[in-house]
């Protein structure tokens, strides 16, 4: 991910008004007002192309995959494995054997925790995370620590929400077996220097797991350029369906890991005496997967690349900059998370009005935002805040959406006097 998103000027430009037309849900109203959807960080909306691909698959091609010689089973298998190849290209993995379909980022991290970390770690080993992690990149590691006697270390951030690389490096030691960090903070938008983190961790022999849920929709991610060992993300934050996500893992690591769930599809032969496991990636995909979800995810990746990730990133950067400047002009508003390298998210609080009240008033104006602790309670505790309001931007948001947000926040001030 670029340290500084490209400035406006030469380069791809996104026509957000045209993009909006690709998203049918954006035509609806909420509480009698046009929907202003600023909660894509929680879940993005799906373009017609994704809805259509899922519908086509369900209508014409559905059967179970990897079994049966009939035409539909083959069509479904092709669609599913085609989606895997699409994902491989999207993140530039070396092989489709490195692409494991899971339910989402949470499941991907749990898979690594239980299948990679749990069998290897022991008392005295350390897992190093950052202070701005989502619960999905905290709790699975706490579980592994309980199971193995390893301990959890936390690399600090500052009050601007910046990852403190030097502090992180100081916490790295030969005992550090796993480093698990977000690529982009879901609560603040901070972009972490993943490449530097990977290089430093590898120099100490640690394996790096990246929670990419908030990164893949906003910039091109190249897992080989990053050099990370595992990379996890979800379909539904990437304009795709819910219930589908991806774990990328370096092949040699995945090869050496035991399966984490047993069942159909992940075996080669089963007898009551001995079962041999299937090859990658099937070894980690027990049971019938979310086939239409994978198809939808592949369509979402086609769609994103048709717009251009660089164009999306530059567009969102403009909106974040505009929203930050406009919100700061409202008396009593405080932007939370002011790291120079941010993606797509503006978190804020307002004196005298609790974020939930702001959320209700914004919703009344048709503006959908997330309010609360953003599944990052340790981060909120560090910042001394019970909650924030989070506006998150996507390719379909416009300057008009920013204006609606700002007007609705001013309205909240009016209501509370």
């Amino acid at each position: 991910m670029a340290a500084n998103p490209a400035p406006a000027g030469p380069g791809p430009v996104l026509d957000a008004e045209r993009v909006r037309k690709d998203f049918p849900i954006l035509e609806r109203t909420v509480n009698g007002r046009p929907l202003v959807y600023l909660d894509s960080g929680a879940s993005s909306q799906r373009p017609q192309a994704v809805l259509h691909a899922v519908d086509e698959y369900e209508t014409h091609s559905h059967a179970n995959i990897h079994r049966g010689v009939h035409a539909l089973s083959q069509a479904a298998t092709e669609a599913f494995e085609g989606a895997r190849e699409r994902v491989r290209r999207f993140i530039n993995a070396r092989s489709t054997r490195e692409i494991i379909f899971v339910r989402g980022t949470t499941e991907a991290i749990n898979l690594v925790a239980q299948s990679y970390a749990r069998p290897r770690l022991k008392a005295g080993d350390e897992i190093l995370i950052s202070a701005l992690e989502h619960h999905a990149n905290i709790v699975p590691w706490q579980m592994v620590c309980e199971q193995t006697g390893a301990s959890l270390k936390v690399a600090p951030i500052n009050t601007r929400g910046e990852f403190l690389f030097d502090e992180f490096e100081r916490l790295l030691s030969p005992r550090t077996r796993i480093v698990a960090v977000a690529h982009v903070s879901n609560a603040l938008g901070t972009i972490l220097p993943v490449k530097r983190i990977v290089d430093a961790a590898h120099a100490r022999g640690a394996v790096v797991v990246v929670d990419g849920a908030q990164a893949v929709p906003h910039a091109r991610v190249d897992v080989r350029a990053l050099g990370c060992d595992f990379y996890a993300f979800s379909g539904h934050k990437l304009y795709g369906p819910t219930g589908i996500g991806v774990l990328y893992g370096r092949e040699e690591l995945l090869q050496a890991m035991p399966p984490w769930q047993g069942g159909g599809d992940m075996i080669l032969t089963v007898s009551f005496e001995k079962t041999t496991y299937n090859e990658l990636p099937a070894k980690f995909e027990a049971g019938t997967p979310n086939i239409s979800g994978a198809v939808g995810l592949a369509a979402a990746m086609d769609y994103i690349e048709s717009l251009g990730l660089e164009a999306i990133a530059a567009h969102e950067h403009r909106l974040v900059t505009l929203a930050t400047a406009e919100l700061e002009r409202i008396p009593g508003v405080h932007i939370v998370g002011t790291a120079p390298n941010k993606a797509s998210i503006v978190s804020f609080t307002m004196d005298g009005i609790h974020p939930h009240d702001i959320g209700t008033i914004l919703d009344h104006e048709g503006v959908a935002v997330r309010t609360g602790h953003h599944c990052a309670m340790p981060l909120m505790t560090f910042l001394g805040l019970p909650a924030t309001v989070r506006a998150s931007f996507a390719c379909y948001n416009t300057e008009g959406d920013v204006a609606s947000l700002v007007a609705a926040v001013r309205k909240a001030r009016e209501v509370f006097g």
Partner: protein
Amino acid sequence: MDLKDLYRDVILDHNRTPRNFGRLEAADARADGHNPLCGDRLTVFLKMNGDRIEDVRFEGKGCAISTASASLMTEAVKGKSRARIAELFDHVHTLLTQHDAVPDPGLGKLAALSGVREFPARVKCASLCWHTLNAALADSAAPVSTE
């Protein structure tokens, strides 16, 4: 559905200047309430006199609805018996959850919470303090420890 139905003047006033706010040093019962969905936390302190609440205070951090509801609650329950509080709890519960409910005349200022039911995502904000009060009352009813 109007914002003014939710954020009535009484609610805004009790949010801005919550009554009976702070610790009660002489408390003989207390309970912590937590809404993990939104992070609201509050503590209710009780000083009992036999069957009645002699004094009640609360502290915590929450949204306007949860703060105002707790403030209104403390005013409503002070001096009341357990039986009367159980009645009030039922009336408040009905008020917050039933769309056609006519506020019970005994609710007094608590009737200002009637707008909350039009905002289902906020009902728990208003009811947190009542559940916490119940927990504190249960605590005070527990056998006195001899330790």
